[in-house]
Symmetry: C2
Subunit: 479 residues, 2 copies
């Protein structure tokens, strides 16, 4: 048992140092590695397989709504980036610039895309002529670059993987509908697949995307009580269309500007999975996203029939559609158990000679560590059931944690007390002025996370300035 | 019929101007679009959907051989690129350089990866310690940049999409085995899925990859008789391992260098599909790779029952696993036929009131234009059969064209005559000296495509210099 104890002891406890616990997990579960390129990371097989599952499932959901995938260049000429004023102001300070191609200096420098609104607009301005060309519902999976000063694996890195959807519509209503549809697609993906409950709402003007008319967001609460913006959907109105001249002739033969949206999700979702579900033994992957859902660990594998039985179990589970592996290595069972827990594989299945005598095996859930005796004949029925139960339980556990760490502030003292002493979301009223947001940022390092769709009337005035309240806002400290 | 005639007339005939025909197809079939970024292109939905099918099918084949996907940074520090001498000499002249991050100049400039050997080596040098860590079988799907002077859609562009596999092994034998395994994976993918026959062989030293010990290639012949290098697999021996210090302790506790391979395939495969199968009416997609395999075109759709019948056919075909769409737009049938041909959809299914009276429909093959009367009750059985037949026929047609354009040169005059007057592959003997390759390049603008695995003894001497022959080589003009 020495090996597996060592493996576990090397993880810092989350209560001692959450940031170090996080870093330990991403390294020990072999999700990422640092590289010679400052601020950039290697996504290793265990991490990339999670991203592939996220991609497959999201991509399927996008396509069901009519979205088509495309690929646009990774470079944006400086003059193109500058076409929309707010947009360039938001992004220019954090882009990487290519100045030389081969041995020659470039005539115009190119930035490595931090996001591709300008390229999509350039394409749409050439491709859209008539109302028959609308809507355009494009998405691309790619990597983008933002020259961040401080970086953290998955959460903030100079290069990250994401998808960016960009749509163009005939009317403002259609654009707003698409913006909300994609926000809901993100929210249900997080809840159904990643077992992460979210708060849906609108960003304040201070926090919205550079160039957007409205930004909608899903906000999730991590185990340490910090918020993570987990996906955003923007309604651009016709601002980009006017800057780029994207016009179509409507049914009455009149020229009109299109209305646009964009929406994105990134590899930071993997950070969310770690920080919502993980514990001091390692990662905990929700079954629906886990690359390996079950690992079979033969006990006393040299005894007659044990490996054959493991192979039979594996075949039965595969036939039932379970992503299963058998660990036949010569490591000790204890080490294998610790490894399964570290890697967050939803269930392990132990079976040795004594179990075989009783025609049974032991299924151990990663989340509760519950041991469930399962008759071998029922394995292919019971394991999918256990995984489904676990998926639901993980969502409920995360929701209970989130709810237990969501507070209500009726006045300034309560708001300050909570922001200082109770990590979590704080619901409070807001007058709508950015000055109050700036003050909260200054005194408590917290930000408005969103104006939630589900509004409550906590008080009549803004607890910060005392002026009449316009909205209820979720406040919090965020990644 | 005016509309569809116009659509077709806008394609230049391939016999008049093959290059223009190619450009017309990629534009008219809406595979790509040019952009504001010189030498870079937009891959549009119809093109990207082909790439997604290529990815899915290749990725599945890779994973069956134990390959795992990862993602490495898009940037390479200049000092890292320089670690392997041949490699940097091969790539430095054609990379794009990032010199500024945000508002600051970088301390060390970064190139945008033209390929990722150096990054994989950097990772392996940290991750590989013991023989238990081997083999490493990693692959990544990403975009790479090479600052080409002249570009053509799919065939040569400054940025392109590809996969790059990078493996590390304990022994030279294992590395060689993996190199050949991946070459064979590529070859069977092209033949089985893309219906493109290939010649497998080894590159000469002049043509091999910068830093490789041996490069293997699959070479395909395009309709105009030019060759297209369609996939390469490299055995690096321990050259990179020595440059990067990638060592492991073997079972006897002795330090050893690993042996490495890399192998890649790119979006140029889409160019190969166009140039092997296309005709003057447009694209011809092999059924196994076609995003849409069948399009139902209702004839006289306003007549009672026609649209309902089309919907029933679509449902039956979908249930049979066919990727099918119905074109219910108000375009004329003739326009829809021309569009199906332009886009290369393998079969169209016509059905109007008269067909319905006879309980039948007409299935028209894109490749032969053969019209096949199919009883509606048998549709879900017959269409998959027709698609399978078509897949096989397209491979045989391409093979017949390739064979008819593969010539044998017994002496210098024959070699020159063929290279000048008969576009295609030329088989001829070779002494093994680069001087003879250089001469052929100079006088006939042709290159050695490969030393094929299937050798023939055409003559005893090299037709170029008269010295004893070592190998038979395929020569040709190439993209």
């Amino acid at each position: 048992m020495a090996d597996n104890k060592k493996m576990v002891e090397e993880i810092t406890s989350m209560d001692v140092d959450f940031a170090q616990w996080y870093t330990d997990i991403v390294k020990k579960a072999e999700l990422i590695d640092y590289t010679s390129v400052k601020g950039c990371m290697v996504i290793k097989p265990a991490g990339y397989a999670i991203w592939e599952n996220i991609q497959n499932e999201l991509d399927r959901r996008f396509k069901e709504t009519g979205v088509e995938n495309v690929y646009l260049p990774m470079f944006i000429p400086e003059s193109l980036l500058q076409k929309e004023k707010d947009h360039v102001e938001g992004f220019a300070p954090e882009v990487a610039w290519v100045t030389h191609g081969g041995l020659e200096p470039l005539q115009e420098r190119l930035c490595v895309r931090p996001t591709s609104e300008t390229l999509f607009c350039d394409l749409y301005s050439k491709d859209i002529h008539s109302h028959r060309d609308l809507p355009k519902l494009y998405n691309q999976w790619c990597s983008v670059v933002r020259w961040e000063k401080t970086t953290r694996p998955f959460l903030r890195s100079r290069e990250f993987l994401w998808q960016e959807g960009h749509t163009a519509h005939a009317t403002a209503e259609e654009a707003e509908e698409r913006t909300i549809l994609m926000l809901n697609t993100y929210a249900s993906f997080l809840e159904d697949v990643l077992a992460i409950p979210v708060v849906k709402g609108r960003k304040t003007d201070k926090e919205k995307f550079a160039g957007a008319e409205a930004t909608y967001t899903i906000e999730a609460l991590m185990h340490d009580g910090k918020a993570l913006q987990s996906g955003t959907s923007h309604n651009f109105g016709d601002g980009f269309a006017k800057a780029f001249g994207i016009q179509y002739t409507d049914k009455n033969n009149k020229l009109q500007y299109v209305h646009q949206t964009s929406w994105g999700m990134t590899t930071r979702l993997i950070g969310a999975i770690i920080m919502v579900h993980g514990d001091d033994s390692g990662l905990k992957l929700p079954p629906r996203i886990a690359p390996t859902q079950a690992v079979i660990i033969p006990i006393m594998p040299k005894k007659e029939g044990v490996l054959e039985n493991a192979a039979k179990m594996e075949a039965a589970l595969k036939a039932a559609g379970i992503r299963v592996k058998t660990d036949n290595s010569d490591k000790s069972p204890g080490f294998k158990f610790a490894e399964q827990e570290m890697r967050g594989i939803p269930v392990r299945i132990e079976c040795g000679p004594k179990d075989m005598e009783k025609n049974q095996c032991v299924v151990v859930r990663r989340d509760t560590r519950e041991k469930i005796i399962v008759c071998l004949d029922e394995l292919a029925v019971k394991v999918p059931e256990i995984l489904e139960t676990m998926q639901k339980d993980m969502l409920e556990t995360a929701r209970a944690h989130r709810d237990a760490h969501t507070y209500t502030a009726h006045n300034y003292e309560e708001l300050m007390d909570i922001l200082e002493n109770k990590p979590g979301f704080v619901k409070a009223m807001w007058c709508g002025d950015q000055a109050c947001e700036d003050k909260i940022k200054e005194v408590a390092s917290a930000t408005s996370r969103c104006i939630p769709f589900e509004q409550e009337q906590i008080s009549d005035v803004c607890p910060i300035c005392g002026k009449p309240a316009k909205h209820m806002v979720y406040w919090g400290k965020a990644y």
